[in-house]
Amino acid sequence: MKYRIKFSKYDIMIFIGHLDMMRFFQKAFRRSGLPIAYSTGFSPHQIMSFAQPLGVGVYSDGEYFDVEFEEKVEPDLIKERLSAVMATGVDIINVRELPDDAGNAMASIAAAGYTIRLRDGHFPELSLTEHFEAFMAQPEILYEKETKRSVKELNIKDFIFEYKVMDEEIYLFLDASSAGNLNPAFVMDAYFKWMGKESQKLDFVIKRMEIYYRTDEGKLLPLEEAGVR
């Protein structure tokens, strides 16, 4: 029996890294008493897989992981029992039962949506949104992406599926597939460089809004839609 769990991260939880978040949920399941399935062997571990790591400092309204249970439990009851053992800054948004043939959360990711604003007190004179359309209107947006071994120049425009300019906030709909995952901080870095300004990661407050998968028909849908309500 497989379930997909959607949760949010805010308040103090943004300071907890990905590995610690996984450990947090492992312990939470033990506290909840829910019949999570274990692998076999000498150090059995819970069968749980996370969609995508979220950087420290980033907020989210759309984090996911899949779990396997030993027996069927009503999704509402899972939500209730799990919510009872959560902490400040992490809420269970919903729980969906997955069909047996559903791909795992990690492998099916295609895109993610983010909102970005300036952190209070950072660039107080600047409008974040004023020049963004002009920035996006360039035929290509070259960005030097540093990997462990090399520096690669990419046209990141190819990985920005959509954007929206709102009230001092930018929405970015970005490629999140294993082949083309684009970090929203890179887009901001490129944008500020284009404006001739030096920015740091700390200047922005980023929130992941949702993670999407691609259906067989090629449609992008929130990960939760793969599950049964």
Partner: protein, 620 residues
Amino acid sequence: MRKLALSDEILLTIDKPARYIGQEINAVSKNVSDVDIRFVMCFPDVYEIGMSHLGIQILYDRLNRYDDVWCERVYSPWMDLDEILRKEQIPLFALESQDPIRDFDFLGITLQYEMCYTNVLQILDLSGIALRAKDRRESDPIVIGGGPCSYNPEPIADFFDLFYIGEGEEGYRALLDLYKECKAAGLKRVDFLKKAAKLAGIYCPMFYEAHYNEDGTLKEFVCLEEGLPERIEKTLIKDLNEVSYPKNPIVPYMRVTQDRVVLEIQRGCIRGCRFCQAGMLYRPVRERSVDYLMDYATTMLDATGHEEISLSSLSSSDYSHLPELMDRLIDECTKRHVNISLPSLRIDAFSLDVMNKVQDVKKSSLTFAPEAGSQRMRNVINKGLTVDDIMGGAKMAFSGGWNKVKLYFMLGLPFETDEDAVAIAELADQIARLYYETVPKEERTGKVQITASSSFFIPKPFTPLQWAPMGTKEDFLHKADVVKSAVLAQLNKKSIRYMYHEADVSVLEGVFARGDRRLSDVIEKAYKKGCFYDAWGEYYHHDVWLSCFEECGLDVDFYTTRVRKEDELFPWDFISCGVTKAFLLREWKNAAKNQVTPNCSMACSGCGAACYGTGEYCPK
């Protein structure tokens, strides 16, 4: 949502922000307006270390059970945050409320090892509390120390208002009541301290004075206030089944050293190893019942979600109901997919059987702590482990599939010769040979791996070896060299890895362990020159420390290598842990004669700890 003491900018700049945000699972939150006393417990080292300490969890739980008290926590900020706090003048804060430490009523500091002394000053300094008790303001928290190092509190006596000597579960209530009473009556700080100094287990250093002889030894230790005790008796819980234990320990968000449920099965130790301070301080042995332990084990596993449980005691094999406890624990933990970790088990048929059930043999290693290489030296230190015990255990283990062995030794023990050092290498080789004799070629899974490590012996107060001169750094390194070359001369040298501890820091630990009040000047000076986190090799500045001793006109050797006379008055003699100085001296003489003393379960040797009217093996 609680406001954090640190801005997001700071938290996202420093390493491991989870150290400073509090609000962990099971952390206790109360309304400030609902309580009379705000207490903050401190472990003066980094969060990961401090959070792993059982004592704080016990006291945290205990104090928070009182409706009128809110007990919070604080740990040493790591170097990166330390710098920011100083630069931006942010006062050190407690994790739960994120309020400044200086606004609390009590700051309790547990003293688990001597090398944390400068970290105590860091905590006080960052909190904006005067370093010396005599300079504190009326509004400053009462700074109270506890833990093993408080049994010789003299080197840091000037920095503390009070020390709590002994097991704190029950005694704190009287102190808290007195505090409330004094506060209500509008008494001054010093008057509260005077009254507190009369309570059981409480030592208030400012009312005592040390006078010295011309040779630097202690001449007398005098009480300056009438009506205060000349001698401070430790407090002790008579029946561990009658005292509470944490039901819902805090679960940290980040990985900490002890990331598991810890079940304290007993206190005290029957063994009487002559170097071991814990073995004397916590006498007599008191066990918890299996029912009590199972009840707490299941409750704690439910409340924390930890995937591992560990038994805690000085020597778990000596717990008299171990087979029953293990049976029931294995049953319970298998159901829950919980691992059991078993430190401090003697290797024998029973423990191997248990380990077989709870561990992956291929991955785990056997641990022996012979402490000394030769039988003669093991007799000197009264370590009742013979070559036959080690060989017998190792043989069974090798047959059972184990092929990794860890051996722990001490170097620089009193009466030790080079031959005793060579014996360490020989013992390691003997175990390696046993492996090849025991396990036929076709059944071997690679080479046997033997890791021998040695630390340098540091004489500690309240042990029979408190009279022993400590080795010099040169002695230590010479002995380590002897072991190293002896290992290379062994047949199985390729299967043996030898490691030894840093010698410089051992010397300093030796100074503080048996130090006196004059050392507070050295500690303060070193701190002001930038020494803290001394327990962390990379931040230990030996040359700075040496210059501080020189500037204070104190001699390192006086505290370490000096031969102490049998009738010397020690700085810690005014404290009683039950074990008498006469017993310790008798044991020191037995050590010189290579003579062993039976453990408590074999015969009572009259150490004095029977005075508490409890103890599994004490004469009634």
